[in-house]
Amino acid sequence: MLLIRCPWCGPRNEVEFSYGGAADVVYPPDPDALSDAEWGEYVFVRDNPRGPFAERWVHTAGCRRWFRAVRNTVTHEFREES
């Protein structure tokens, strides 16, 4: 049961959140301009590092806000960010 710090509500149990996978993947401004390979990469391919990982969470059972966090995928520790 991870303890996840919602930027708006403070630290709460993992069960209040949903996971959104990798952060910082931007929706292409013009999908039609992309090749099939580029579009496939956007839809299906995400970083999957061992170590620090910028990821998205949403406080589903709380404020319902999405936020970004950096968590280590080996230790599960969140990096404190100001």
Binding site: M1, L2, L3, N13, S18, G20, V26, Y27, P31, D32, L34, D36, W39, G40, Y42, V43, R56, V58, T60, R64, R65, W66, T75, H76
Partner: protein
């Protein structure tokens, strides 16, 4: 035998119990194990070899004495508090399940500043110190009373009483007894199993800091015949003597490689037993003199090399000599209980002095103290003690798994170099005790076998000791497994005798059988009413999301395949959504309530997912769009009044009616504020009456009353499905399965060419744009009475049925139609639209059904009936 005095047992409360049907007596304060020992009762025979076994330990590390108590299997007798009338059966390493568990199990979630695990000397000291600071302290101990190993040392009991009293005086300190901390999870979250009368409580504690004062488990020595009943751990012997006033033998050989067993020797002498200490160390212990002065014998550089006796030990070999005895108390050193430290991610290091793994670096906010931190007597490590005849097949490393040094040697001989391999090959460490006494010895034996210097490391996983399924399940059983959602009209449906189906968490009326009516008959009757007169359905479960803000229209344009920005206020439009992958995600009707306000309806099962989807895109991709989403599913009760006579029913109740199809008005129905929309999922004239949830039942009853003269008929999801299928309307999740695009459904008209939307780009990928994809078509069985099973696979008529058979698609929906007077179906069929008019076959287990491929619209293709 039971000593005449001493111990912490209550001699005024004798208790009667049975083991394997034989009645014995013990006392309050006994464990089942101490009472068994007092009565010379053996444990069950070993699992594979059937060797007689006795009680070895006094705590959770016990390898042998597993019992079944009533319905509960596999309890170490050392952990069972004796109560009057216990009926225990000894087990050979395997228990029995027979009955459900009706015990009461609940859960508590708590926070504390400091969680102290273990109420022995170190844990008590830590808890008192933390308690004095005013911190919120939890102290959890697995025993019925605090004290840990102090309970086996009477001269500490006065101090113990003082400390326990001081702890009780701290208002913020909470002591949990019979409470085993079994799991140490991420972010200092620990789980505690507490035994309670008739059940248990699972505590989940988020702790600021954790003090691990979990003590140590003693190791046996590995000599020939070390499993013979009467061979016990020295510390356990001391516990039985002092805590339970049970002396397991009169003539004891104490065999040790460290000083700790001398206390046992002295206590045995004090109790009147004869004692011979065989100390494997060549250099005599400073404690030897004490033993001698108390009347015992000590031999340095000596060890037990074998045992005899049946079933109980009667003598041991000490090299070339033999010594008669009825008790062998052994100590091979101690293993700090590092399980929780390791579970928490802490690392271990091998300590040469104590020949044990001790906590090294903590990963979370925890500290180990006392013997759990390796504060132990130094030992002379001795992983194996050869027998005179050179054999290794009665040198038991793991008694519960009947695994010996010979087994380890076979594993290493087979090529295994990893301790994990050897454990798996021999099954050492996998039994109920999870190798608490066997583990480090095994590593030592392996290291010796491989000629390695020191044992390799190991890791520990939850739970520390076995935890009942029922405790972990807690109250989330039966109706509480998953909350059932019902509409405000639910009680009416129940009273009407509806059959229900689960849709997501919702309970929805499936159909309403009249007395004696089959499902088929009921559904045909309901369909007929909706097509010919008037039917009514509780549609309250449909998801409803309000989207408010100046950019709501633009947002909907981006989410739906079709456009909503220019939808006139007061009207509604059917819409469809795709995932980024271009596959159909959900559909529903969207109403424009005002310039800046829409109401999107979703499928029943997908409502939460659609709201999540909206919010994700809004917040993470387009935070510039000014839109707020609010779920209003449960705020509204929705009553669909359907059929050519629906207008007369609703007209009798509503102050105003929408002017045309796909329009709505905010008005009153039956005197309460209502939104009435002309929306039809059946093709018939239909009105959807939405009122506040708390008016739902009253308005439903008013609709029923107003419709009585027209024979208004309530219908459920099955009839809804038939009616929509007759019109060729797909159901997301039934006629689609995550691999179907809007184009596959033949709904090209709903896919905007002009605007962008989520998933649009995916539609022109090579595979997604193939012309021979599976497409939604209708099927008419050649025999109009034949009902295609939903899920039937379709093949070309001339296909040989030798697997693998090339399949063209499958039947997604199939019904008997009252309106058509026959059966019909929807299917996803490869190149389906090129096969219109052709015959396909559905090969079933026992027969094949032939059907003609048709357009998926079977009823009123011109759409003339929607206006009544």
């Amino acid at each position: 035998m039971r000593l005449p005095s001493g111990g912490r047992i209550d001699r005024t409360t004798p208790l009667t119990f049975t083991v394997d049907g034989v009645t014995h007596t013990g006392y309050r304060g006994d464990t089942l194990a101490s009472a068994m020992l007092a009565n010379n009762v053996l444990a069950g025979p070993s699992i594979h070899l059937g060797r007689p076994r006795g009680i070895v330990a006094a705590g959770v590390e016990e390898p042998n004495a597993l019992v079944q108590v009533g319905p509960e299997p596999m309890l170490p007798a050392t952990t069972v508090e004796l109560t009057d009338g216990i009926e225990a059966t000894t087990l050979s390493g395997r228990g029995r399940l027979a009955t459900p568990n009706d015990g009461y199990f609940d859960k508590t979630y708590a926070h504390c500043d400091v969680l102290v695990v273990g109420g022995g000397r170190a844990g008590l000291a830590a808890a008192v110190e933390a308690g004095r600071s005013g911190a919120r302290v939890f102290l959890a101990d697995e025993q019925p009373e605090l004290g840990g190993s102090l309970l086996s040392t009477p001269d500490t009991w006065e101090w113990l009483d003082t400390v326990v009293a001081e702890l009780a005086s701290f208002p913020e300190t909470r002591v949990l007894t019979r409470a085993t901390v079994f799991g140490y999870y991420d972010h200092n979250y620990l789980s505690i199993a507490q035994r309670r009368p008739g059940g248990g409580r699972l505590w989940h504690v988020r702790a600021g800091r954790v003090v691990l004062a979990t003590g140590a488990h003693e190791r046996p020595l590995v000599f020939a015949g070390n499993d013979r009943p009467g061979v016990m751990l020295a510390g356990a012997v001391r516990t039985y003597l002092n805590r339970y006033a049970v002396r397991p033998g009169r003539r004891a050989v104490v065999c040790t490689n460290n000083d700790s067993a001398y206390a046992t020797a002295l206590d045995l002498l004090e109790s009147g037993a004869e004692v011979l200490v065989a100390d494997v160390r060549d250099e005599e212990s400073a404690l030897a003199a004490l033993v001698r002065s108390a009347g015992g014998e000590v031999r340095a550089g000596t060890t037990v090399t074998g045992t005899t006796g049946s079933p109980w030990v009667t003598s041991v070999s000490l090299g070339s000599e033999t010594a008669d005895c009825d008790l062998v108390a052994v100590s091979g050193g101690w293993n700090p209980v590092v399980h929780l430290h390791s579970q928490a991610g802490g690392t271990l290091r091998y300590d040469d002095a104590t020949a044990a793994f001790v906590p090294d670096v903590a990963r979370q906010a925890h500290v180990s103290v006392g013997s759990a931190n390796g504060e132990l007597d130094p030992v002379h490590p001795l992983w194996t003690i050869p027998a005179a005849d050179g054999s290794w097949d009665t040198h038991f490393v793991d008694q519960q798994r009947d695994a010996t040094v010979a087994d380890v040697l076979r594993a290493t001989g087979a090529g295994m170099r990893s301790a994990e391999h050897v454990k798996r090959y021999t099954t050492i460490g996998t039994a109920h005790d999870q190798g608490k006494t066997a583990g480090v010895n095994t590593l030592g034996v392996i290291a010796e076998a491989l000629g390695a210097g020191t044992p390799g490391p190991t890791t520990y996983r939850p739970p520390y000791t076995p935890v009942p399924f029922a405790l972990l399940a807690g109250r989330d059983r039966g109706a509480l497994l998953d909350p059932a959602r019902v509409t405000p009209i639910h009680a009416w449906h129940v009273a009407r005798g509806a059959e229900f189906e689960n849709v997501g968490q919702w309970r929805r009326p499936w159909y309403y059988p009249l007395p004696g009516e089959t499902m088929t008959e009921a559904v045909l009757r309901e369909c007929r009413a909706a097509r010919e007169g008037v039917g009514v359905q509780d549609a309250s479960t449909l998801g409803k999301i309000e989207l408010v803000g100046p950019d709501a229209g633009e947002f909907l344009n981006r989410m739906y395949t079709n456009a909503f920005a220019k939808l006139p206020v007061g009207t509604a439009r059917y819409g469809m959504m795709c995932t980024a992958d271009g596959m159909v995600f959900d559909d529903g009707v969207v109403l424009r309530l005002a310039e800046d306000r829409y109401l999107a309806t979703t499928t029943t099962g997908n409502a939460a997912a659609v709201l999540d989807h909206f919010e994700e895109w809004l917040q993470t991709e387009w935070p510039d769009l000014r839109v707020h989403c609010t779920s209003v599913t449960e705020q509204w009760a929705t009553i669909a009044v359907v059929g050519p006579l629906s207008g007369r029913v609703v007209g009798a109740l509503a102050a105003d009616l929408p002017p045309k199809f796909m329009a709505f008005v905010d008005t009153t129905v039956h005197g309460v504020p209502a939104r009435v929309a002309r929306i039809s999922f059946s093709g018939e004239l239909a009105y959807e009456v939405n009122v506040a949830g708390w008016h739902g039942l009253a308005v439903w009853e008013a609709v029923m009353a107003a419709g009585e003269e027209f024979g208004i008929t309530p219908y459920g999801t099955e009839t809804m499905h038939v009616l929509r299928a007759e019109k060729g309307y797909p159901i997301v999740g039934q006629d689609t399965d995550g691999t179907v695009t809007p184009l596959d459904l033949g709904m090209d008209w709903i896919v905007s060419k002009r605007k962008s939307f989520v998933g649009k780009r995916s539609l022109r990928r090579p595979d997604t744009a193939r012309p021979d994809r599976k497409q939604l078509v209708g099927l008419l069985p050649v025999d109009p009475d034949d009902l295609l099973p939903e899920g039937a696979q379709l093949v070309a008529p001339d296909t040989p049925l030798d697997p693998p058979v090339p399949m063209l698609g499958h039947v997604t929906s199939s019904y008997r139609s009252a309106a058509l007077g026959r059966t019909f179906a929807l299917a996803l069929l490869r190149s389906g639209r090129d096969r219109l008019g052709q015959v396909v076959h559905a090969p079933l287990a026992d027969r094949t059904i032939a059907a003609i491929v048709t357009e998926p619209v079977f009823y009123d293709p011109e759409g003339t009936r929607r206006d009544g």
